[in-house]
């Protein structure tokens, strides 16, 4: 899949998410996932958007054209860390529950709700890990699924790769 991850810092103004999503819709860009939330600066929000398509340059420029957009960064692999949270309800009668719980343990998925015929897991991690878990749960029957949308940050490549700061002489 030709997924690109873009981090957009926007002014925290009413309607700003509508402006961003409307731009994607009218320019014909396809949004795979979108997550939005506050940043350390209460005046700013951060939108992490995963998009398909070849022309990232045009998408980034169109995002910058929105008056409330402050900063747009494409987060490219491998210099990004990304996570997604998911809750998934799996069909699980008494006979299957043991093996389902065993698989969940390997993935560090947490059972957050248990019913007579189902177990609901919470799992966070890289998108690939979530996909693997879903593949394994599929045969039991997935009754419900919710994902948070991907969030991502750039790795701190600069300071990691930089030389150690030299000690100043007194």
């Amino acid at each position: 899949m030709n997924h690109h991850v873009i981090a957009v810092i926007v002014e925290n103004k009413p309607g700003v998410l509508a402006r961003v999503s409307s731009m994607f819709a009218r320019r014909g860009f396809y949004i795979h996932s979108l997550a939005v939330g506050p940043t350390a600066d209460p005046a700013m929000s951060r939108i992490t958007v995963v998009v398909d398509g070849p022309d990232m340059e045009q998408i980034i420029k169109q995002l910058y054209k929105l008056v409330h957009t402050v900063k747009v960064t494409e987060l490219t692999a491998p210099d990004r860390i990304e996570r997604e949270v998911m809750m998934v309800r799996v069909r699980a009668d008494a006979t299957q529950r043991g093996e389902i719980m065993e698989t969940a343990r390997i993935f560090s998925a947490t059972a957050v709700d248990v019913g007579a015929a189902s177990v609901t897991f919470e799992l966070s991690g890289k998108p690939a890990k979530l996909a693997d878990f879903l593949d394994l749960m599929g045969p039991y029957g997935i009754l419900d699924l919710v994902k948070s949308g991907r969030i991502a940050l750039a790795k701190d490549v600069k300071t990691r790769d930089a030389e150690r700061p030299r000690l100043r002489t007194a």
């Binding site: 340059e57 910058y64 957009t69 402050v70």
Partner: protein, 572 residues
């Protein structure tokens, strides 16, 4: 409550502080509070007959003056009627500020009377828009709206103000400093890119300077001409840039594109370098983009980074204001040339001259035959000495006006290019005349376009705005008919506007205009002379034109610019 004013008074005061001299609008329930303080303001209000007219008036005013045009409407249908002019101004980057009334904040979302989600509806067809929810924000918002409308890539900005905000009271303070951390339009081009552009230009053998509407918006026509002369660059002026350099100038090749002239189209096609300034490689210029100017390297100057690389990847991108970058290019080119003249490029100039000689624009007016629109346009040009601001609608008459007027000055050609809004001419002419009252303003309109917005001639008559309107009556939606003739096997569907109905002369008179009709070629000049003699009232001229005439040259939509249809014979 001493020293407090209403939100409506704050609005009008903020508009005064922005130097607004005229508002084009229509009042209504939600905007009512804003109309009261207009009575006490030096700002003139022009009462349009329809909000669409008010919007295009603001656009025509902005075109003619370079200042921000202002329109005003009420909530619901008032605001939705402004959407077409806003979309139009958005496509052509025209600085317009629209003020709309909204229901009280306590009623928004309840489907109350005359509610529309103006903010949401206008979002995709404005540069930016606001819903004011705090009376303390009015002055800052108006200030920001004007700043956004005229700076960077200009465009329309809408400010929606709820009625309770207009009625609330506040101690007025002028707008504070702008708080737009994400909005910093680039003015100067990157010096390294400017230098790279100069080297490419200097080395080019077949360059074409491709001037677009951005040159007009930046007020950079003089710079464009200076640069063309300094670097010896033949130049095309797009539909939005007619008059950027004079049509009579030896370096001017005229209009390129779908109905451009052969030389302008072919020069771009055969160029080894295009220097695009404030132009956006629109489909009406490029035709099929894959076969457009195949041998050309591209220098692309635009204030909007998103235009660069959108259609064509340039070898040298330069983000910046057209005027600022042209001045940089002039300085850098002057330095590069030193005491030497620019390359003569005799072979290229010779080729261009040969094309111009072989394929001039022309028309035949049979003295007994039906009136040709090109003839009318040429006669108006002759009898005014070309000293007029020309405003067009959209269609055949627009293309002929652009082809045959002969533009010598910038900002004398006003039309709807990007959106192609039929009905643009009459209201835009009214707005233009308000902006430049000392100039003759002539709308060249079609009978289809005219019937969409003719009611604004009532506005012109009552408000004393003496525009002149030439209706080219060919009894048809002419351009659609032309396409049906060429591409739909002459199956004419829904293009017949019928003969004699309405009676345009009676209609003009009913709307308070002096009205004339020309039925034969011999009537044309006398009608124009009579119209030019009237300067205290609007004038309507009806020219009964050839219903079967077609605009050529033509490159069919999506076709390659290698194949220019020069006449109907080329199709056989």
């Amino acid at each position: 409550m001493t020293d407090t004013i209403s939100g409506a008074q704050a609005l009008i005061r903020a508009l005064e502080e922005e130097g607004v001299e005229v508002i084009f609008g229509v009042p209504g329930g939600a905007i009512l509070p804003a109309y009261d303080p207009i009575l006490d303001s030096p700002i003139r209000h022009v009462l349009a007959r329809h909000e669409q007219g008010a919007g295009h008036m603001a656009s025509g005013y902005a075109h003619a003056t370079g200042r921000v045009g202002v329109c005003m409407a009420t909530s619901g249908p008032g605001a939705t009627n402004l959407i077409t002019p806003l979309a139009d101004a958005h496509m052509d980057s025209i600085p317009v500020v629209a003020i709309t009334g909204q229901l009280a904040t306590t009623s928004i979302g309840n489907d109350a009377f005359q509610e529309a989600h103006t903010w949401g509806i206008s979002m995709p067809c404005t540069k930016h828009n606001y819903l004011v929810t705090d009376i303390a924000d009015i002055a800052d918002t108006v200030h920001e709206a004007f700043h956004l409308a005229r700076s960077g890539r200009p465009g329309p900005v809408l400010v929606d103000i709820p009625k309770d905000i207009l009625n609330a009271r506040i101690a007025y303070r002028s707008a504070g400093p702008l708080a737009l951390p994400g909005y910093k339009p680039q003015v100067n081009g990157h010096p390294r890119q400017v230098k790279a552009a100069v080297e490419l230009i200097h080395a080019s053998e077949r360059p074409v300077l491709y001037l677009g509407g951005g040159v007009m918006r930046a007020g950079a026509a003089a710079e464009a001409l200076r640069f063309a002369e300094l670097a010896n660059l033949p130049a095309v002026t797009t539909l939005m840039a007619r008059g950027a350099i004079p049509d009579s100038h030896p370096l001017c090749l005229g209009m390129p594109g779908m109905h451009g002239n052969y030389t302008a189209i072919t020069a771009m096609q055969k160029a080894d370098l295009l220097i695009a300034v404030g132009a956006r490689f629109d489909d009406r210029v490029t035709g099929d983009p894959d076969s457009f100017a195949p041998d050309a390297k591209v220098v692309h100057v635009d204030v909007d980074p998103a235009e660069i690389g959108k259609v064509r990847n340039p070898e040298v991108p330069i983000v910046g204001d057209a005027g600022a970058v042209l001045r940089q290019l002039i300085a850098a080119m002057a330095k590069r040339l030193g005491d030497e003249p620019a390359p003569a490029r005799e072979a290229w100039r010779g080729t261009l001259a040969a094309w111009q000689e072989a394929h001039p624009l022309g028309f035949v007016q049979d003295e007994d035959g039906p009136i040709q629109q090109q003839f009318v346009i040429s006669e108006i040009h002759r009898l005014t000495g070309g000293d007029a601001v020309v405003v067009a609608g959209v269609g055949q008459h627009q293309m002929w006006a652009s082809q045959f007027w002969g533009f010598e000055r910038p900002n004398t050609w006003i039309n709807s290019g990007g959106a192609g809004t039929m009905g643009y001419a009459v209201p835009a002419a009214v707005g233009a005349k308000m902006g430049v009252p000392d100039q003759t303003v002539i709308a060249i309109d079609g009978d289809g376009c005219f019937q969409m917005t003719s009611q604004e001639l009532i506005t012109a008559a009552i408000e004393g705005i003496p525009v002149k309107v030439a209706v080219m009556n060919n009894n048809a939606l002419g351009m659609v008919k032309q396409w049906q003739r060429l591409f739909y096997g002459e199956r004419f569907s829904a293009v017949d506007l019928t003969d004699h109905t309405p009676d345009f002369v009676k209609l003009g008179e009913a709307m308070g205009c002096v009205s004339f009709r020309a039925e034969h070629p011999a009537d044309v000049a006398p009608v124009i002379e009579k119209a030019l003699a009237v300067n205290d009232r609007p004038v309507l001229m009806e020219f009964r034109c050839d219903p079967d005439a077609m605009v050529f040259p033509m490159v069919p939509a999506g076709g390659s610019n290698d194949i220019v249809i020069l006449s109907p014979e080329d199709l056989r």
